[in-house]
């Protein structure tokens, strides 16, 4: 066991990948000598060379599009998109090309490109630097989407993403980059496309992922003071979603809260609420309740505290659920 931050855990995961897979390499803006704007790739260029840690021109479609070509040639590109809000120039390549090449070729071709995207708010930044666009990608068949919430998952998920034969987007919770945790570099935590119950409870279930998992855990602890036993699930995988784990939990607790920073309208929470309503109809004591961003472009930093789900917003949702 080693204690490290999430950023360092991803760095170590990338280091292990580069060392173990000669076909793998990193590409993105400012990831080489600078080590990335968040220093997630720090030291990797010096260790593996510019050939394995490529600074690219400042062009997101170019990054994804050329990564697709290199993957078709048998290489394993790991792309960094510098910020969530800057993925959109590459959106066409991700959704019309990367996601579809396997099925377009009737299963003959694969483009196992990995795309790392720091996402989410809470860092007091300027426009386009705090968004959570995961639902836009989850709606696209052919992509897989995972998001770690802790250092151990961060270390392993990036390596598991590279091993996957499908394209994988790894959304990295940027405001948790400096959150420390224990990393077991010997034993991987198993299938990355599964949810984990990170706190057991009997009265309600909070499903969260990425940056909101620590918030959900804190809300569950606060609820315990009021006598409510709240289970917390770290979704980990946004596509596919491990509905079985959520279903088992809700059948036990009878109440479901889904929390994410992204706007609730058309979001992942609605998908989970709908599916769990079908699966757990007779177990539910209350309708599934979503806690998320409002239907507005991500607001200016000075008011983002009102936008981002926090402990109180989750407790308010629990109150509503318990009121039924």
């Amino acid at each position: 066991m080693k204690t490290m931050t999430i950023a360092k855990a991803i760095n170590e995961g990338l280091r292990a990948t580069l060392a173990n897979d000669a076909k793998s390499f990193l590409m993105g803006e400012d990831i080489g000598s600078l080590g990335g704007v968040y220093r997630v790739t720090e030291g990797l260029k010096a260790e593996f060379g510019a050939h394995r840690v490529m600074d690219t021109p400042l062009a997101e479609s170019g990054i994804i599009g050329t990564a697709i070509g290199m993957a078709l040639r048998g290489h394993r590109p790991i792309c960094e998109i510098q910020f969530d809000g800057f993925v959109f120039p590459g959106f066409n390549q991700i959704t019309t090309q990367l996601a579809k090449i396997h099925t377009r070729s009737d299963g003959q071709l694969s483009a196992p490109v990995v795309i790392r995207i720091p996402y989410g708010g809470g860092i007091g930044s300027i426009e386009h630097h705090s968004e959570s666009p995961e639902a836009l990608f989850a709606h696209t068949a052919g992509l897989r989407i995972i998001t770690p919430s802790n250092a151990n998952d961060a270390y392993w998920m990036i390596q598991q993403a590279v091993s996957c034969k499908d394209p994988v987007i790894v959304f990295e919770p940027k405001r948790r980059y400096w959150l420390k945790g224990e990393v077991d570099t010997e034993n991987n935590p198993g299938d990355p496309f599964t949810a984990h119950v990170v706190r057991e409870g009997s009265d309600a279930t909070i499903v969260a992922y990425g940056p909101l998992v620590p918030v959900a855990l804190a809300a569950a602890n606060a609820a315990a003071d009021d006598g409510h036993s709240v289970e917390v699930i770290d979704l980990r995988s946004i596509s596919p979603i491990d509905f079985d784990t959520v279903e088992a939990s809700v059948n036990k607790t009878g109440r479901l809260i889904v929390a994410h920073e992204a706007p609730t309208f058309g979001g992942i929470g609605g998908e989970i609420a709908s599916r769990i309503s079908e699966r757990c109809f007779y177990s539910l004591e209350a309708p599934a309740i979503r806690v998320g961003g409002f239907h507005m472009p991500y607001p200016v930093a000075r008011v983002e505290e009102h936008y981002l789900p926090d402990i109180d917003r989750m407790l308010e949702a629990l109150d509503r659920a318990f009121a039924y």
Binding site: S61, N92, G142, P240, I241, F243
Partner: protein, 407 residues
């Protein structure tokens, strides 16, 4: 008076602006160097052989059989194209994308490639497909709604057709960068290059720009082959660019060649030169092949609504097949028997394509479920299971109905 009007009068030339020609000072970009009439040509529209020092030697060394092969390829692709158009008109294809008029650009560039080279086509490169050895019947699977691909690109180093304009130019550059990485890892690997096909319409897409930036920055072994057929569906070339596209190469810092795209010999020669350039580590090249889409954009298009028939007639006079036939006959390189044989070959190919298309059968929704992901996926599995159960319900109902009817 509004601010806009004030501003407009403030910069008007009648007010004595100082803005004139920028002059020839250092730091002032001079106009483009390749004009609308400039192009490499080795066989003119009348079939006369022209001599040119850089590219001529690539053709001088060709034997009669190869030259006849160029003609044969162009003629059978034209025949194939007519058959596919007929299949669409008869309701056997949802759509067809005619290639007529562009045969020289495609056969010339395709024949310049080696087996280890790789082509990334648009959706109109039927001639290139022929040169790569595809069974042309496979091209029709896409247009018959049976597959979104239709062949294994790795068998002939000919990628799938890409319908989102210019997306494939980035894939081509990435693939070329992959070739570079392989060469760096294994110096004994066979030198190879990539040809990225695109058209004048796609040249306005951002991906073409980004692909050229990446290719230049990483010195990728890629040849950008633009078939400028003068029309992006109904929009004329002048809307995409005010100057020949070849001039853009200078902005990226690599060579550009404008070639008569209806002259198969010149296209072959310049593409050979460009591929040699790319394979030998000297980086990318842009080729602009000046040609013309004689037919419609697709079988759903109607060119009479946007262009004059006189323009079409002017381009028919520059027909790529006619000029090579004239040359081959004048030089005594081909006789009537050869041209009769070519016609026969074209008819046989057309017959094969028709038979193969009609025998294609249907598509399978189960195959689509099976190919969304390369690895197992619980949602796809769940939806497939639901679908099978749903379908089985109909089968059970049918059985009950037929049993009831019998009783």
């Amino acid at each position: 008076m509004g601010a806009a009007q004030q501003s407009a009068t403030g910069i008007g030339s009648e007010n004595g602006t100082r803005v004139g020609p920028a002059g020839a000072s250092a730091g002032v970009l001079q106009p483009h160097t390749v004009g609308e009439r400039d192009m490499v040509q080795l066989l003119d529209a009348a079939g006369n052989r022209r001599h040119e020092d850089t590219f001529g030697p690539y053709v001088d060394e060709l034997d009669a059989k190869t030259l006849r092969g160029f003609y044969r390829d162009m003629a059978v692709v034209r025949r194939f194209d007519a058959e596919a158009t007929a299949l669409q008109r008869q309701g056997e294809l949802a759509l067809w994308v005619p290639v007529v008029g562009q045969e020289a650009a495609q056969i010339g560039s395709g024949r310049a490639m080696r087996p280890a080279d790789y082509a990334f086509p648009t959706y109109r490169e039927h001639g290139v497909a022929l040169t790569r050895g595809l069974d042309l019947a496979d091209l029709l699977k896409l247009f018959r709604g049976i597959s979104n691909g239709g062949w294994d690109p790795r068998e002939n180093n000919f990628h799938l057709y890409t319908l989102v304009l210019a997306a494939q130019t980035l894939h081509a550059v990435g693939y070329a960068m992959g070739i570079q990485r392989d060469a760096a890892a294994d110096s004994a690997s066979e030198p190879a290059a990539v040809v990225a096909y695109f058209g004048d319409g796609a040249s306005s897409e951002g991906d073409v720009h980004e692909s050229m930036v990446f290719a230049a920055s990483f010195n990728a072994p890629v040849v950008f082959f633009c078939q400028n057929n003068n029309w992006a569906i109904s929009v004329p070339f002048e809307v995409q660019s005010k100057v020949p596209l070849v001039n853009r190469a200078g902005g990226y810092g690599f060579p550009g060649i404008r070639v008569d795209g209806n002259d198969v010999l010149a296209v072959y020669a310049v593409t050979q030169w460009a591929l040699d350039h790319a394979r030998s580590g000297k980086g990318p090249v842009l080729i602009e092949a000046s040609t013309y889409r004689v037919g419609a954009h697709t079988t759903a298009d109607d060119p009479t609504k946007y262009r004059a028939s006189a323009e079409e007639e002017a381009w028919r006079a520059k027909d790529p097949l006619q000029r090579l036939e004239t040359y081959l006959r004048a030089e005594g390189l081909a006789d009537d028997d050869f041209f009769a044989q070519v016609k026969n070959d074209g008819d046989e190919l057309a017959s094969h394509v028709r038979r193969a298309t009609l025998a294609l059968g249907g598509a399978s929704i189960r195959q689509k479920f099976a190919t969304v992901y390369a690895e197992a996926h619980p949602l796809v599995a769940e939806e497939l299971a639901w679908f099978e159960n749903y379908e089985a319900g109909f089968a059970a109902a049918d059985t009950q109905t037929s049993q009831g009817g019998a009783a």
